[in-house]
Symmetry: D4
Subunit: 218 residues, 8 copies
């Protein structure tokens, strides 16, 4: 069995339960997906491994599989109305994996998404050419490993709320993402929301909650 499900979570928190697939029994994950497909309900699994993708086998054609994001879902909804665009920025080439988990989760949670990838601090000129897309976004998520400096730069320019996701990309004294995590917690751009290392899923949930707030009347 895969665990006790929290079917009221969406009602309570506005966000459907998702499963973190890594470390779980592939056959059990497949059973759950069969069950959700039958009931025609949304199920999101993140961090799916190759073994899990294999176990999903013949269900696959009915499912939505995002290999770069390592995500599988039963349904791919349209963006909800009057939601702000979430801009997902990645710094280095290897940060894309986390950025894709972020962007796909944002879409599955019904946010319009704009991806601006590979615009790290070592070549800010690449960033400069995207400033117009920047203005159109309502919420900005920045995924960065190594020095984790990009959210500080973005946050110093942005009227939008900025969510920072440190990634485990790097080596040596990056300590598996601790270096960019500390950079972001100490950002001199005040108000940066920091996530756990590689937690693109959490960033997407927070962005969705901000977007839902924007649709409620104060």
């Amino acid at each position: 069995m895969l665990g006790r499900f929290d079917h009221h979570r969406e009602a309570r928190t506005g966000i459907p339960e998702a499963i973190l697939a890594e470390g779980k029994d592939p056959a059990a994950v497949a059973d759950i997906f069969a069950n959700y497909l039958e009931r025609d309900e949304q199920l999101i699994a993140t961090r799916v491994t190759d073994a899990i993708v294999d176990a999903l086998g013949e269900l696959m054609p009915e499912l939505h599989y995002f290999p770069d994001a390592r995500i599988v879902a039963t349904q791919m909804p349209e963006p909800a109305e009057s939601r702000h665009t979430v801009m997902v920025i990645s710094a280095g080439a290897l940060d894309r994996r986390v950025a894709e988990e972020t962007a796909v989760t944002c879409q599955l949670l019904r946010n319009p998404v704009d991806r601006v990838f590979d615009v790290g601090v070592a070549g800010l000129t690449r960033f400069a050419t995207e400033l117009d897309r920047f203005d159109k976004a309502g919420i900005i998520i920045v995924c960065a490993g190594m020095d984790g400096a990009l959210p500080s730069v973005v946050g110093g320019l942005a009227v939008q709320p900025v969510i920072a996701v440190p990634t485990s990309v790097g080596y040596g004294a990056s300590f598996g993402g601790v270096a960019p995590l500390l950079t972001m917690l100490n950002s001199c751009s005040p108000g940066t929301a920091v996530m756990n290392i590689d937690n693109g899923f959490g960033a997407a949930v927070l962005a969705t909650k901000m977007n839902q707030l924007a649709c409620r009347t104060a």
Copy 2:
């Protein structure tokens, strides 16, 4: 001299520059306040020490001083229209200092604020009696030291975005706030926005940016 000021920051980021007063020369801080009073502009100083309060001397009657929050400002604005209420929750008795920095900054940045203090996880019943106020809030900020467990409990119940501020309250293996910081980064309530230790100011800035977003059209 106190530093080079970034007068365009509010235009660029929606948030006025504030100074972190601790460690700065009291006389220089007083000069800046005199200057801002004269120009009739808003200036916010956080972490003011007793020495700084003394140095402000005869300017004090014209200033807004919040001793529990250790904040001084030249102006105390009304809440902006159509802003959601920011609920500021503190867990333990000693977490109030950070919670007050948070709440006062929220007010100075023009958000309506509701304080719910001293409702830690060791006595969740105290929390249970406040659930109606909880429903009326748009954004929730939780300040907690020691185990830092309260944001996970709140986040498991909340439709609102939750911002978690670890405090340095605790001893021994709390390591000056590292224990609650890690708890919050690893919260099993997904989407929790985490701040630096004791960074109530940053939490208030993030809440303000969320509230400003809610007032923009997507």
Copy 3:
């Protein structure tokens, strides 16, 4: 050879010696089991690997093997009389492995056990529905990874002694279980007994010692 055995440990400490099988030579472990079976004595091995299970080969039918707990024993005793029930709680789906090690060891050390699994803090409602079983327990063990917040919540409600086992479940800033370990050491529910990361065996030993104390006259 597997080591020098401490045959007087049970007489001295009330708890039989057990071997932590991981890292040991499978053939040597099998020899020891053959020896104990022949002498008709209890032997408990925890953290048995697949290689060890294979090496046990034809002895297996005579042994008690608990695959989810990764435990093998020569004997499965009945609960001792007048022992209190030990409730074993797990927070997330992946914490079950440690919770099973805990629960099976409790049973092998002759305690009645009640398992309440997958009731993490992110959905406290799942926990709320089990409160009656909670009242019937004498000792509570909580296994939790990620934020490790569940023991604080349980401890704030419990008259029973609470034993907290941090698990290595999580990623990024959970640092292989350091995050929940610190949470538990700093629990604002006073008196929480903390174990090493993933140490379900130790938690069961402590619960057994508490139960044995309850059967002695002061």
Copy 4:
């Protein structure tokens, strides 16, 4: 104000609320004590500073003050009936401060207490002469700094449950108590209950819960 009080805690958890006085406003602490004296209820304050003792001023004659333990209480109860003796052991001369906090709290929570101080591992012979008192105890609490090795030695000999309290006594690579904390978490005597650094209060609460369990029928 000193905080919102959790008056139902004793009913819920069997342990009265106590305040950690350090860091709190001396005048506010004194007000609370006046209030509890008037209502003739128990109030325990730990880690009282000299400033707090001064502020208690004329209330002092009515209060119970334990200077070595840094504890003040309104009442000093008799040990409860049929409770097991709690033996409180300290390793080095400087560990006595934590051991006294532990012993006095045990007494205030109505446990009979036996103190065996200054019997560290560097001179186990001092320990050997106390083995008869050892046999008469129901629960053993060991307070040790520096290498924190004493609980392992005690736990290897004891049928009783053993609670280990690391202290911040030491210098250099003891890192304010981290060294003995790790020693205790990794104790090769299984089932050692570990507390936060210097947390004698928590150890006493756990011992009390064990003693209360021993008085309940399974």
Copy 5:
């Protein structure tokens, strides 16, 4: 006595010995200064405390004292010929102390210096207005605390060698300068030379060695 002096160090390494005054006996420091003044030789003392400044007493008029840099020297030389200008950049207002130690040491080691202070990443526009001075520099030293992000931005734009000095400015998860230190070690601008926390002196020595190299024939 203040120590055994290494009078050949300048001959051997090109850099005169300097003393780190903090922690040393003020009277002994004063004696050494008297001795060097008499012999008409250069002596540099960094991290001078108020007590040391007092002890220097009547020697002071003959000495060069830089209070913001906490440096005292017997001689203030002219810049050496054909040296490149060293630009010293500081990020936040409080980073000036380290930046001044850096700049004054550069001058004492005979380099022309250009100070660009308080141009942190949170307001890159302040930095943008100084780009012409930037082009005229031969070597760039960046002093930054908190997130330590500025050297990455500078390094992504600079043809010059960049030396990064993390400062202990910050709080909470900056851990006394560890956060900016890690940021700089992991800078995605390759080739950044990193110094110990607050080690402005070392940065100046390295810049001087670069400048000396530029004056030698390959």
Copy 6:
């Protein structure tokens, strides 16, 4: 796709972009190399894995492959005129891997190189026999793991700028290179430039920038 390329980096910073191949898709790396070969432009890839070398397959004869350095490049330029020799020193036998990455990158960036390998501190006599080559160098890079002590010894003797590269060579309390990293950051030879663990590439970039500076007029 392998990422967005920063084609102006060489113009801006004097150093061509290079790719850190580890972790990247071998086929994508091969495509990029094919593209650069066709355009007859320099491309440097460091940390190439066996899988990447395999994927380069039939391109290999046209490429420059340095197996000890784990580097592949499209072009092998001559040393630039009037550059100083970069001496690359390694301490232990296993530090050679990093030293080769350093030395080959220096060559690819057009510096003359002199390798002095395996002259660690435990046998300084091996070092003593190379002092004449030492005098001829303009810049010194020292790669050392374990205690990381060699750069301090070299720095105490050198007029040249010294760049220290800690390596992950060692075990136990070397913590994957943290021990030599800290040694180097705390070097009592002032002005030592420190790199991230195993970052031979960065050391070569810094040496190149120093050499370019030496060729510019102040």
Copy 7:
């Protein structure tokens, strides 16, 4: 090539050079052994892997191979005259690997050795039965993982110098040997000599130097 050899090390330091084989090229290691066999000189290799043992192939019959210690040597000398016996103690079953590296190196460096294995602190009675052998030893080396408490107990009883080797045996909060390392550094038995984690080789070298000193005239 395997490295530059330090042939004068034995003359200088009294200890022959040894190679740490792990991580080195098996073929190169085999070449060196062939060379030393031919020259009839001692060569010691520690941490030999299976691949290296395979590569030694047909040389093996001429070599001395100690599989439990993972050591290969060309010669097995007799103990030197008038050397004191080195007692090598191990605590847990898994600590034997390090204890064997220690004991075999002691023998190769010509010390008489007495092994007392598996006498950990959790069952000190096992230790008590060996006290007579204890008295006959001149130097004591204790290898212990997990809590690392055994050297403190031994050191409190011993007139002999005690050398403590922390091992990486343990899990969770033992952090790969950091827990016993800290225990040993903070041992309340003063004068304990501490080695790096798993460094049995180093302990044997130190014991040998002590033994050599005992054979010199003061």
Copy 8:
């Protein structure tokens, strides 16, 4: 009271008990000294504070007080016969405090001592001039802070056993002595005995045990 004394320690371990005075009640320390003077027995107190020196008041003329070492003793014995000289080396000027604690304790434990101070790695030439004294020593103790590199250099040259004492001298990333501690644990000069940070006392005890061994017959 100051603690329970271990009067048999000298008989058992060859080393008299000593008290670590810091943190203890000055009046109680004075009482103990009066008692030992009267009984005409040796008592050693290390880390005596100014308050303790004051409390010793009129006893002082009868005591041996070593202010640089912060040690007080009742007796100053002659070196024991046939002991080897212990050479105590310090690296930097500020390491003298620990070196003096080491040297004075060595003398109080009856070893002949030779002090060689202030000969750090940054100026190895200062060290080179002392090599003849070096040859006459039997045991070498090296006290070093900052990079802690000196014991590796000494150990690479010495036939004698080398004891390394890391000091808390340094700043920033020396982390109160952690940097030199790690350097020494990872020393590439095998067999270095490592002590806790600033533990000169322990180094002296170990040297004494080595010297005592040299006086016993194997």
